[in-house]
Structure formats: C-alpha cells, structure tokens
C-alpha cells in the first residue's frame, strides 16, 4: 500500500487532502489521472461535448430535485402545481426554465456528441461498448424528454402525448399492449401522469445513472480515441495534454461558459423561444378540441414529419407501421456501426459510414425544418 501523501503546507485544502488520503489513499487516483493524457489535434474540441452533456445532466438532476419539492402528479394537481411553481414559489420560474432549457440543450449536445464520435470513427474497436452505452444514454435522454413533456398536464402536452403513445400502438403484435402499458390504460388520463412521473423521476434516472457510470468508466479506462490519421504517425509528432489538471480545467471552462449561456436563456426566455417554447398555457382537457398544431419536441420532429409524409397504406402494411419499422431498422443499423464498419479498423475512412451518416443527418435536418415550415 503506498504511503499517504504528506502535506507540504498547512493550507485547509492540503489538510483536507491529507485527511482523505490517509483514509482512502486517493493519491493513487490522482496519480492515475495525472498519467492519463488527451490527444491534441484539429478536432480536439469534439472531446468537450461529452463533458458538456454531463454538466447539463447534472443541472437537470439539481433543478429536477428542486421541482420535485413542489410538483404534484395527478390530473387535478399536476397543472396547478406547475402553475404554483412558476407564479408563487420563490425562483420557481427560474428552476423550471433552467430545467427546460438544460433538457433541450442536453439533447442537442447528446446528438452533437454522437455525430462527432460517429464521423471521427471513435466508436471503433476497442470502444464498441462505449458507443453502445452512449446510444443507450441517447435513448434514455429522449425518453426523459418524452415523459417530462406530459408532466405539466397542459393542453399541448396532453394531445402530443396522445399522438406519441398512439404511434406505439401501430407496432404489430405488441403495439396495443405497449400503448396500454405506456398510458396506464386505454387513454391518456391522470393515471398516465403517474406512470410518466414514475418513469421520469425514478426509473429513468436510475437506469441513466447506471449506464452513465459504465460509459464514464469505459472512457476513463480506455482514454480518448485518437484520430484515424494518427495510426501511422510517428509518436514524437503526436501531441497530448494531461487529463488532470489541464483537460479538466478546460472542461470546467466550457461548463462555466455553458452555465452563463444557460442563465441568460433561462432569465431572458423563461418560456422558451421559437421552436423551443414551453408556455404553461391551458390545462389539459380531454374533451376539448385538439389545438390547431400538435407537434412533438424538436428532437422527435423529424420522425413525426416523416410519418406525416407517408401514405395511409404501403404495400400490405399501414404507412405508420412502415415508418415505425423504418426508424427501428435504421436505428439498429446506426447503433451497430462498430460491428459492421470493418474499414476504420484498418485505419481508413469508410465511405459507406460517411454517406450513411450524412444521409441520416440531412434527413433529420430537412424533415425537422419541413415539420416547422409546413406546420
């Protein structure tokens, strides 16, 4: 067992470090982190998107816990409690605004992180599991968004959830069962809020924490992926910085900038702006006519719009089912990219991977834009 570090001076920080080190031997961890390095190259900025997502997730957890103090699930209390939070609770409006903004920014940075990893082939061996856990985190983040959308129990959320859960019903064999499980009944009711609330504050956070821990552990264990071009580069021409403290300080700087942006957005646009808009509006009324434009959150828009373009029937199946199958198969192919891309293993860029990625990216952007333009 290594000797605990000796305090070099009498500052409070060093005393605390010594106190901890004498009990937990944290010097080992510090030494390990001190040896860890991060590659420096033209695309080094991509390394910060994962950390940025982690920061936004932490904001989500912190603001979510504060909202939980006042939020009351249920058809008779959900809307009223959110209204109470934003109008009566001190800084309640700010907490809700921060929660909503950081949720949307987190989904954005998750997508950004995924595409940068994809286009730099950072998913290749030995990081297949890191990619798979990352995809799992993306799915969980979207599930967070979907389940959280209903919780204010306002008109738009109610009808959008009805449409969203209704799509699950189109899946063959298990569709009806899945829809009933999601809705906690045949229709979207107060019981659905209970189910979504449970998912949003207990099940998803637990799953997310586990998958995130594995994801972070894998990153710490395997380090940052080096660019493909470095494969044949002489070691003396490769540049690195130490993870601790250089990279960590840079990460902190990005987090501070993100915090500033988040604070500005949350205060200046508490109800969102443009397509990112979450006014509380009217309370959900199942018997009222649906709003003129029911639309999902922006990150589901590409799927929503694509499904709208599909005809009622395609060959022997419904257009909706075709769309659901199309996205399911597309998602599986995307997720399994580390296993079918053999080219990047040889240090070469796979044209097929690049074209597939570009196609998916253009499809998502065009469909999302059309979703808002044609609305």
């Amino acid at each position: 067992m290594p000797e605990p570090a000796k305090s070099q001076n009498g500052s409070l920080a060093h005393k605390a470090y010594h106190w901890l080190d004498s009990r937990l031997q944290i010097r080992q961890l510090v030494d390990y982190m001190g040896h860890k390095v991060v590659p420096v190259h033209g695309h080094s900025i991509f390394y910060y998107f994962g950390g940025l997502t982690l920061f936004l997730f932490m904001v989500q957890v912190a603001t979510g816990i504060l909202l939980l103090m006042y939020y009351r699930p249920g058809a008779d209390s959900a809307y009223e409690s959110v209204r109470f939070i934003v109008s009566e609770v001190s800084f309640g409006w700010l907490i809700r605004s921060l929660h909503s903004w950081s949720a949307n920014l987190m989904i954005f940075t998750v997508f950004l992180h995924m595409f940068t990893v994809y286009f730099t082939f950072a998913y290749r061996k030995p990081r297949e599991l890191t990619w798979l856990t990352g995809m799992g985190l993306l799915g969980l983040a979207m599930a967070f968004g979907f389940s959280g959308y209903l919780l204010p129990w306002n008109s738009l959320a109610f009808f959008a959830t009805r449409v969203g859960t209704g799509m699950a019903g189109t899946i063959p064999v298990v569709g009806d069962w899945l829809m009933i499980i999601m809705r906690n009944g045949e229709e979207v009711t107060g019981a659905t809020i209970g189910r979504f609330f449970g998912l949003h504050v207990a099940i998803l956070p637990a799953l997310f924490t586990v998958v995130l821990s594995v994801h972070l552990l894998l990153i710490q264990r395997q380090g940052m992926s080096e660019p493909l071009e470095w494969r044949d580069k002489p070691p003396e021409t490769k540049k690195y910085i130490k993870f601790f403290p250089q990279f960590l300080y840079r990460d902190l700087l990005v987090w501070l900038i993100a915090l500033n942006v988040l604070a500005l957005l949350a205060v200046i646009f508490p109800d969102g702006v443009g397509v990112l808009h979450w006014p509380l509006g009217e309370k959900a009324d199942p018997f009222a006519a649906p709003p003129a434009s029911i639309r999902p959150e922006w990150y589901f828009m590409f799927m929503f719009q694509a499904l709208k373009f599909l005809p009622a029937h395609m060959w022997f199946i419904t257009g909706e089912l075709f769309g659901v199958l199309f996205f399911t198969i597309g998602g599986i192919i995307w997720t399994l990219v580390p296993f079918w891309d053999r080219t990047s293993l040889k240090g070469r860029r796979s044209k097929m991977v690049i074209w597939f990625g570009l196609l998916a990216l253009v499809f998502m952007i065009v469909m999302s834009i059309l979703g808002y333009v044609l609305d």
Partner: protein
C-alpha cells in the same frame, strides 16, 4: 342477323324509355325561347324544383302535353296568378298542414294568416294596393331559396337589401308618408355592422324586430318587448326604472328615445351627461327640478372612475405580459374587472346610482388589485435582470480566471 337487329332495336327502346317518362315538356319548350333570366332557366335554382316540384305543381296543366293550347284547356291548369292572387296561390300548399307535413314539416303553415295581419297584407287585401309586398316581392318568383342558403333573398345577409328594394326606394315609397332611410341607417348601425360586415348571423336583420310575414312597425308599447328579446336584462332594468312610467305617460318610444331605431350606433359612456354628445340632455336640464341631474352626474363619474381604473390596470398588465411575466392570475382578475364594467354599463338602464354603485366599486377595487400585482411583477422582472447581470458577471470573471490559469499552465 335479323335477330341481332331486333335485339339492338329493343335495347335502344329500353334505353330511351326513361327519357320519355321523365321529360318535362314545359321546360323543354320554354327553354327554347326564354333567355337565361327566364322562369324556365331560373327555376332550376328554386328550392321547390330542387325538391321534386315542377311548373305544373304551381301552374297546373300537364307537363307531358306538347301543345300549349291543349295545356290551357286542361282542367288543372291555373296559369299565372295576378299580383292580388299570389298569397292565396302560394298558400294552396303552404297553408295546407297535411301537404306541408309530407314535404317540409319544419315549415310553419301560418304565413298567410300572419301576412293578412301585416301592413303589407292589409293594404293588399283591403285596399288592393299592388305596390306593397306580397310573397314574391321578398322570396322572388322562380328562384325561391331556403333562408339558410347564402344565395337566397331571405338569407340574413341579403334580407336588409331585400326589404330595402322597396323601403329605400323613395319613388316606390312616395305616398306612404314613411321615411326611406332605414336601410342606410341600419347599415351604419351596430346591428348592421355586426351582420353585414362581421357576418355575425346572430345579429338582427329587419325581420328580427319587425317580424317577417306579419311585418309591422313595433308599437310604442311593444318596443321594450321587441328590443328585450335580445337585450333582456336591459329591458328588465328599464321596466323597473323611473323612465318606464315617465315614457308611458309622454308616449315616448322607450329604447328609441336614447338609442334611435334603425341607426342604432354603438352605445358608450359618452351617452351619459347633460351636454352633447350625451343624450340625457335631450330631455333633462341642470335645473329641471328633478333628481335626474344629480343621478346623471353620479353615474357619469362612477363610470368614468371604473373605466379609468380598468384602462390603467390593462396598461400595466400588458406591460408585465410583454416583459414575459406569468400573468395568469392577474388576467383572471382583469376579466372580472371587464365583467364589472359591462355590468355597470348595463345597470345604467335602471337609472339608479344605488343599483350600479356596488358593482362599480367592486370593479374599481379589482382593477387596483390588478395594478398593484402587475406593478409587483414588473419589479420582479427588473430584479431578475439585475440578478442575471450579477450572476453573469461572477461566472464570466470565474471563466476569465480559469482561462488565465490554463494559459499559464500551458507555458
């Protein structure tokens, strides 16, 4: 070959048979010499024709005959009625409950009876005045439409002009000693604008006040009842007011005294007062020896206070809303203020300050509450901005410090 030829002829005969059975010789013949405004063309738009009736249903005769002389000689031929005969001509069916029950049970069957009680009917039947309206004057002759259809002359949006065809024609109305400015007045009235410009079909047209088949000008005694059909609360308040007895005694036409009849302009607080443009001064003066001037002043002041409080509250609330503050509760309270203002304006018709006072006071209190709460929201907005500025400054300084540290470490 002969068999094939016979079969072909038989087929043609069968194919031609329905055409022979369903042809209408009246139309076939009349359409050859009438232009597109002729009855035989217009009738295709007619509600009767569209429901299976044809020329012979009204004019009699036999539509299978091809010679007009034979038609005229047929026992059922009724021909064209004279202007005086038209009401009875239409009433053959429209006053026949059995017939109407089979064809359109929703329609009443008392049109002729009502018409006989109308000014139009009386003059037609008693004085044989053929300038007054009969059925076809309003409904047209051969393109009669259901009143629910937009092209019909009796559709609410068309009805004022249908009546105006005669009543706005000074040459036609000469000799009747009644004005001809009703349509012009109605068009600029609050009712006319609602109906003709906003196309609000619930707004009254001529027939809603005057009746349709029993059309008559409302008498002085029935005016409150006519206006009160829609303005029930105002009518009730008026009947309980000191004006009711006074107007009855002076034979004044109730609502019309202040609001006019056809040219009913949007009412407003300006109408209360003793000087122009207020209407109270038309009858009352400062020294008329009644309690009226004091009541008028008091009502005017109360309304002005409430209006001013409401406008100020609205302005500050809009400001808070523009700044992005959550104003749901204040908006809810503001609706109560608006409601108080509407109620106070309605209560004017009771002409009693004790009746409208409490409602106005409640409205003013609520308006002040909205002002106070909205001002609080605006203060909160500026507090947020200042807080944001401080937080941004601190975070920025931290970021700059960290950046300097990173730069130093890089050297």
């Amino acid at each position: 070959m002969k068999f094939v030829y016979m079969m072909l002829m038989a087929g043609l005969l069968v194919a031609a048979t329905p055409a022979v059975v369903f042809s209408d010789n009246c139309l076939d013949c009349h359409q050859t010499f009438e232009d597109e405004n002729g009855p035989s063309h217009l009738i295709t738009k007619d509600v009767h024709y569209q429901n299976g009736l044809s020329c012979v249903s009204c004019h009699g005769g036999d539509s299978t005959m091809s010679d007009m002389d034979d038609v005229r000689k047929s026992s059922s031929f009724r021909g064209v009625p004279t202007y005086l005969q038209v009401p009875d001509f239409c009433a053959r069916c429209h006053s026949n409950p059995d017939y109407m029950h089979d064809h359109n049970p929703r329609l009443p069957v008392d049109q002729l009876e009502k018409y006989k009680t109308s000014i139009h009917g009386k003059r037609l039947f008693e004085k044989h005045d053929t300038k007054v309206a009969n059925c076809v004057s309003c409904h047209s002759v051969h393109e009669i439409g259901n009143a629910k259809l937009p092209y019909s002359s009796t559709y609410p949006l068309n009805l004022p002009f249908t009546c105006g065809k005669c009543h706005a024609d000074s040459a036609h109305m000469a000799g009747y000693n009644i004005p001809t400015d009703q349509l012009a007045g109605y068009q600029v009235s609050v009712h006319g604008k609602a109906l003709l410009e906003k196309e609000d079909l619930s707004a009254p047209a001529c027939n809603d006040c005057h009746g349709n088949h029993g059309a008559a000008p409302p008498g002085i005694n029935s005016l409150a009842a006519v206006c009160g059909m829609c303005h029930a609360i105002e009518a009730e308040l008026y009947n309980a007011s000191p004006h009711r007895a006074a107007f009855d005694e002076l034979d004044l036409p109730m609502c019309v005294v202040c609001h006019s009849n056809h040219k009913i302009l949007p009412p407003g607080d300006f109408m209360i007062g003793l000087t122009d443009p207020a209407v109270c001064g038309n009858c009352h003066s400062r020294d008329d020896g009644t309690k009226a001037p004091a009541t008028i002043d008091s009502m005017k002041a109360t309304l002005a206070n409430l209006s001013q409080a409401r406008d100020s509250a609205r302005q500050i609330l809009d400001d808070a809303e523009t700044k992005g503050m959550m104003t749901t509760d204040e908006e809810f309270l503001m609706k109560e203020v608006d409601q108080s203002l509407i109620q106070t304006r309605t209560l004017i018709h009771r002409f009693d300050i004790d009746t409208l006072g409490p409602t106005a006071v409640q409205g003013i209190e609520n308006a002040r509450k909205v002002q106070t709460e909205s001002a609080g929201l605006i203060n909160q907005y500026y507090f947020r901005r200042k807080g944001l500025a401080v937080a941004t400054l601190i975070i920025t300084l931290l970021a700059i410090g960290l950046y300097i540290k990173i730069r130093r470490m890089g050297r």
